[in-house]
């Protein structure tokens, strides 16, 4: 039988020390492996940068999954970050300004949207997010004068700390920036989830009323997580725009939100490493599946998603940590 209700859920109890050490070792090992691959196979560098950027956005999905909520509209924050870069790059080409700016604008949008959506749970939470992201999508598509519609905008030339290095160096810089931010946000999310505020998220999932009885306002807890997740979505979006150098309204379409949730489940919601494992696996599967069977890659992804949910609910992280723990014991 494929299991009980709390499946996507994380946080099986393990002795905290060994778990943390394992996570840290895997994070460092993973980062080194990524650098090695990016160096050995240059064309994969682009894919890995995108994967890391999406992984940062997926960290936000993971926060909401902890509260048992799934947002089918988080691509709106990714698109906000991406379009911030596309709009401002001609006047402010500095990467080190654009990344925090995109994050801040997404955070602002996230808090406004959050005030509305945190009043709802489950299906309504998921679908309201979806509806709002579709509003953003259609605005991006229809306001042609501003956004060039479905053609999208090419991102203008960017500078790194005032300099404009050659292409190869630029690719490495973007990769390094994505990797660095991934580590920073991963650590932040881990610290946040371990804090009382983060622990309260689990309370929303199991029994919200009990949380309220304890004097913890559930909406505030969820709003904070929502804002944080919007910030990470925005930062991920700026990185996606800077790497792919082209933004289109499709970034905000509900199916790309679905993709983010998919990555979260694929990687496993049990650890801050999950989103990056998931994003890397997702982008690689997509590249190879699209090359092998151009018309059916979405079908393959869908089948993988079904298989993960029904047979490996812990995701890649779940499989990995079970393996490693088994060996240690």
């Amino acid at each position: 039988m494929s299991g009980q209700a709390s499946r996507t859920g994380a946080g099986r109890l393990a002795p905290p020390g060994s778990r943390h050490r394992l996570e840290l070792a895997l994070a460092i090992g993973g980062a080194l492996a990524l650098i090695l691959v990016a160096w050995a196979v240059p064309w994969l560098r682009f894919i890995l940068t995108i994967a890391l950027a999406k992984g940062i956005a997926v960290l936000g999905i993971l926060l909401l999954l902890r509260a048992g909520q799934v947002s089918f509209g988080h691509a709106m924050f990714l698109a906000t970050g991406a379009y911030t870069v596309a709009f401002l790059a001609p006047s402010v080409p500095e990467v080190l300004i654009l990344v925090p700016l995109g994050g801040a604008i997404a955070l602002g949008l996230g808090l406004v949207v959050g005030l509305f959506v945190v009043r709802y749970r489950d299906i309504f939470f998921g679908m309201l997010n979806l509806a709002l992201s579709m509003v953003l999508y259609s605005l991006l598509e229809k306001l042609y004068a501003l956004t060039k519609g479905t053609d999208g905008i090419r991102v203008a030339r960017l500078t790194f700390a005032g300099t404009e290095p050659p292409r190869e160096t630029q690719e490495w810089l973007m990769f390094g920036l994505a990797l660095g931010l991934a580590l920073v946000f991963g650590l932040l999310v881990r610290a946040y989830l371990a804090s009382p505020m983060g622990q309260a998220l689990k309370g929303i999932k199991t029994r919200e009323t009990r949380l309220e009885f304890m004097g913890v306002p559930a909406r505030h807890v969820l709003l904070f997580a929502y804002g944080f997740s919007a910030l990470m979505g925005g930062v991920g979006g700026t990185l996606v725009a800077m790497t792919s150098r082209h933004v289109t309204p499709l970034l905000a379409y509900w199916t790309s939100s679905g993709e983010l949730v998919f990555i979260a489940i694929l990687g496993g919601a049990g650890s801050a490493l999950g989103p990056f494992l998931g994003a890397t696996a997702f982008e690689l599967v997509r590249v190879y599946a699209a090359a092998a069977v151009a018309d059916a890659w979405q079908m393959i992804l869908g089948a993988v998603l079904l298989a993960v949910i029904l047979f490996a609910p812990g995701g890649v992280w779940g499989i990995l940590s079970a393996r490693l723990k088994g060996r240690a014991a």
């Binding site: 209700a5 999954l65 998921g126």
Partner: protein
């Protein structure tokens, strides 16, 4: 005001006629989604794909019939036959093989499973029908156009969109209301919707009812698609649009409300077509604005009953 009417009256008339036809289609899809949610407690994201596949199947079948030299009215038979076939071929396997494994699980997980189904069905549709536009407007041409008197002017409008679409939607609404309240099977479905455990304790075979309801809901989605197919050329992506729109209708009405879905389909259909004629930039946004506005005031939807939270 009167000045505005003399200038824009015709457009307004067109918007209303268009809106009615559109509301009819949206209602058919939304009511299926609603019915399935009532019994299965799952919002089926793949519902939009069933709409799209129904549309493609109807167009193909209609073209096939026409190529075999069957009389023109056979085009209508093709629409209904395609809807029934899609429901019967896709409904049972989806329910038995996939959805049955996740009843009672977290809602987020259920949404994801149906999202996976959506991804699979989208590609199935692309593999079968390709990405080139498919169209068969035979059934619409058959009935020709009608001149609708409007003040001093007349608006020529296709009889198909004027009578067939709203008429069939109304018929479905009445038939469904009668079926659910007056027949044994219908009342059994209602019983499971209201309280599954109590219904099972009374000896109702809930497994059978679920299978039946899902198949029926899938057929309704396919019927919506089939009826929409003569009015437009079909391209990939229809399914993704349809599901968000029909969810907007269902959420505005309140989950599980059948008659309510008809009212909100009208509201959203008319709102959208008004936007098409007067503010085309906002065509896609209007349904969501209506939904968000309603949910701000009534979180349970226009006709929904607030659910008490379990402690």
């Amino acid at each position: 005001m009167t000045e505005w009417f003399t200038e824009n009256g015709l457009l307004l008339g067109l918007a209303v006629l268009d809106g009615l036809a559109y509301a009819g289609l949206v209602f058919l899809v939304a009511v299926g989604l609603n019915l399935v949610f009532g019994v299965l407690r799952i919002v089926n994201v793949a519902h939009g794909s069933l709409f799209a596949i129904g549309a493609y199947a109807a167009a193909s079948l209609g073209l096939f019939f026409a190529a075999r030299g069957l009389p023109a009215w056979a085009g209508y038979a093709a629409l209904l036959l395609a809807a029934a076939l899609v429901g019967l071929i896709l409904g049972p396997p989806i329910e038995r093989l996939v959805l049955r494994r996740i009843y009672g699980h977290e809602e987020s997980l259920q949404l994801l499973v149906t999202f996976a189904l959506f991804m699979i069905l989208e590609d199935v549709q692309k593999l079968i029908w390709g990405v080139q536009p498919v169209s068969n407007d035979g059934p619409m041409k058959l009935l020709g156009t009608v001149d609708v008197p409007f003040g001093e002017d007349v608006i020529p409008f296709t009889a198909y969109q004027l009578f067939v679409l709203p008429g069939l939607a109304l018929l479905t609404l009445l038939a469904l209301a009668w079926f659910l309240r007056r027949t044994l099977t219908g009342r059994v479905i209602l019983a499971v919707t209201t309280d599954k455990e109590a219904a099972m304790a009374m000896g109702i075979d809930a497994t059978r009812v679920t299978l039946l309801t899902f198949t029926f809901g899938a057929a309704l989605a396919a019927l919506g698609g089939a009826l929409a197919s003569p009015t437009t050329a079909l391209v990939p992506g229809v399914g993704a649009q349809t599901i968000v729109l029909s969810f907007a209708v269902v959420a505005t009405a309140g989950l599980g409300q059948i008659e309510g879905a008809a009212v909100s389909a009208l509201l959203i259909g008319l709102g959208r077509s008004a936007a098409v004629y007067f503010a085309p930039e906002f065509e896609v946004v209007v349904p969501y604005i209506i939904m968000v506005a309603v949910l701000l005031v009534r979180p349970q939807g226009l006709f929904g009953v607030p659910e008490t939270r379990r402690v």
